[in-house]
């Protein structure tokens, strides 16, 4: 079209200006939310990690440089929290990945209808609120009146103080966290397993491959990207998932045995009212998990490429 004459040029330019702005207008609400509630606070936490402050109205933040970082690394509580974070993650991996994987592979031949019923049931913990799960398990595991200890007593065992014994408490919290997750992982792995082309399995069977060989050489490689995905979210989020159970059930105790990095942030910030320590721990957490996420995401990238 060549019939552009001058009068219409101005509005057209204006319209083009709006057109260029359009994507930004559509992005604005979400972007603003993330800036105000995530990215700006992240910078602010970084700044606060160099100050000493207790959040009380009349006190002023005092610049202390790297002191907060030096101090928290000297606390045995903090190193215990770091150690426990690793225990939480490693302890959750079998429940969130290995057991569901075994179940998904073992139960693939069940008829559609019964599979759907199981599926509906094992999914229930996933939709139950963490606080409710904590309350119910606290009741079931109560040392004097809980059903589990009743059963153990009937079998002739001494009552176990699941949540009140420094040796068992962390494993109890890991178990409850896993209880919420296991159905979800099982369903994801079952769905991925069901997506494997049956003719591949048939062909291998014709060639005389044993069940174990089929699992090892066909199923596991084809499931690798799903397995990797579940492993990744467990490593990155596992310790975080247990936070609600720690706060509701043990407050990090007994003797600090169940605290982890997420709980220690909360403890420093809102129990000890030490903004500097909490922020310094937060920055360490972000750097640590950020590095981990970077490595894991690259791994996932490589494997999902191989899968396609």
């Amino acid at each position: 079209m060549t019939s552009t004459f001058t009068p219409s040029a101005a509005p057209r330019l204006a319209r083009r200006g709006i057109a260029r702005l359009a994507p930004w207008l559509f992005l604005l609400p979400a972007a603003l939310t993330f800036v105000v509630w995530v990215y700006w606070p992240l910078l602010d936490a970084f700044r606060l990690s160099f100050y000493e402050w207790n959040m009380l109205p009349r006190s002023e933040p005092r610049f202390v440089g790297m002191e907060n970082y030096a101090n928290i690394f000297e606390l045995s509580k903090f190193s215990q929290a770091l150690k426990n974070t690793v225990i939480y993650i490693v302890g959750l991996l079998p429940i969130a990945v290995l057991i569901p994987l075994a179940i998904a592979i073992y139960t693939q031949d069940l008829p559609e209808r019964s599979r759907n019923i199981y599926r509906a049931i094992i999914f229930v913990p996933m939709i139950i609120a963490p606080v409710v799960a904590a309350a119910v398990w606290r009741w079931l595991l109560d040392p004097s009146y809980g059903l589990v200890n009743n059963w153990l007593g009937a079998l002739g065992f001494e009552p176990v103080r699941f949540l009140f014994d420094a040796d068992t408490a962390i494993w109890t919290i890991i178990f409850i966290t896993g209880w919420k997750l296991i159905g979800f992982s099982t369903l994801i792995l079952s769905a991925a397993n069901a997506n494997i082309n049956p003719s591949l399995i048939e062909a291998a069977r014709m060639d005389g491959a044993s069940n174990w060989q089929i699992i090892r050489d066909i199923r596991l490689p084809l499931l690798s990207s799903t397995i990797l995905f579940l492993t990744m979210i467990t490593i990155l989020l596992g310790a975080q998932w247990s936070f609600a159970y720690i706060v509701v059930l043990t407050q990090g105790g007994p003797l600090g045995s169940t605290t982890n990095i997420f709980h220690i942030l909360w403890d420093f910030g809102f129990s000890s009212l030490s903004v500097g320590w909490s922020s310094a721990a937060a920055i360490i957490l972000v750097l640590g998990f950020g590095a981990l996420a970077f490595v894991l995401l690259r791994l996932v990238d490589r494997y999902s490429f191989h899968d396609n």
Partner: protein
Amino acid sequence: MTTDTLTAGRITGPARGALKFRLDRWFGHAVLIALAFLCLFPVYWMIVTSLRPANEILEGSLWPSNASLDNYRYALGAIPVRAMLINTTVISVAVTAIQLVTGLLAAFAFVRWRFAGDKIIYALMVLTWLVPLQVVMIPNYLLVAKLGLLASIIALILPHFASALAVMLLVQAMRSFPREVMEAARMDGASNWRLLWEIMVPNMRGTIASLAILVFISTWNEYFWPLLLSRTPENSVVQIGIQMFMTAEGTQWGPLMAASTMASLPILILYLVLQRQVVQSFLQSGLK
């Protein structure tokens, strides 16, 4: 493996295979029944305990001999459960609606246009998924305090105005939307606004419903942010209410289980009605 064992296997194959198949299936059922029991029993026990009268609370029977609603009456009197349930509902509905709108708008921008920095901005939005609330809680808390919203339920909604999950799932859904339809609508002179709301959204009902379920359930179950902000029971959510029956002095098991049941009932009913859809939406979020 030698040819001998192979042929031997082939001869006895069918009979042995059938037996093995049946055993495998039996074993599969056994494993799943055990898992289903583990998953469902605690929820069942919560409901049963909540129905036991106070003097029978420690009973181990599978069904209360005298079912009663005493614990519910007690719980309703001890804390403002009704107000809490209303607050939780208002917050969950509002967060779901807002997150869908902001997510749809942002996703549309990413799918419809190419602009400077689009990939980086998308990555930054997705990465917020990895920033735990514990890390930003102090600055967020200070901001809410500065706005004077500490005791209001608006503060419980504000940080959830957008989520990485919504943006991600909606971008994926829109990318698979047929390009020809979008082009045709543009040729007809439809504005971007109409293209989004009148053409794309009605065709993405499945994804939107899934996402709404996910957001609703996770907002309903949220615990940490309300824990930071709750000042009075009347302005709080039901998850905080549950906690009030667990004190250092001891736990009132009956009312605790009654409050837990009341807090879970809306979600459990939603699940009973939309079971397939709920499972599907969680699976989708995980598979992508």
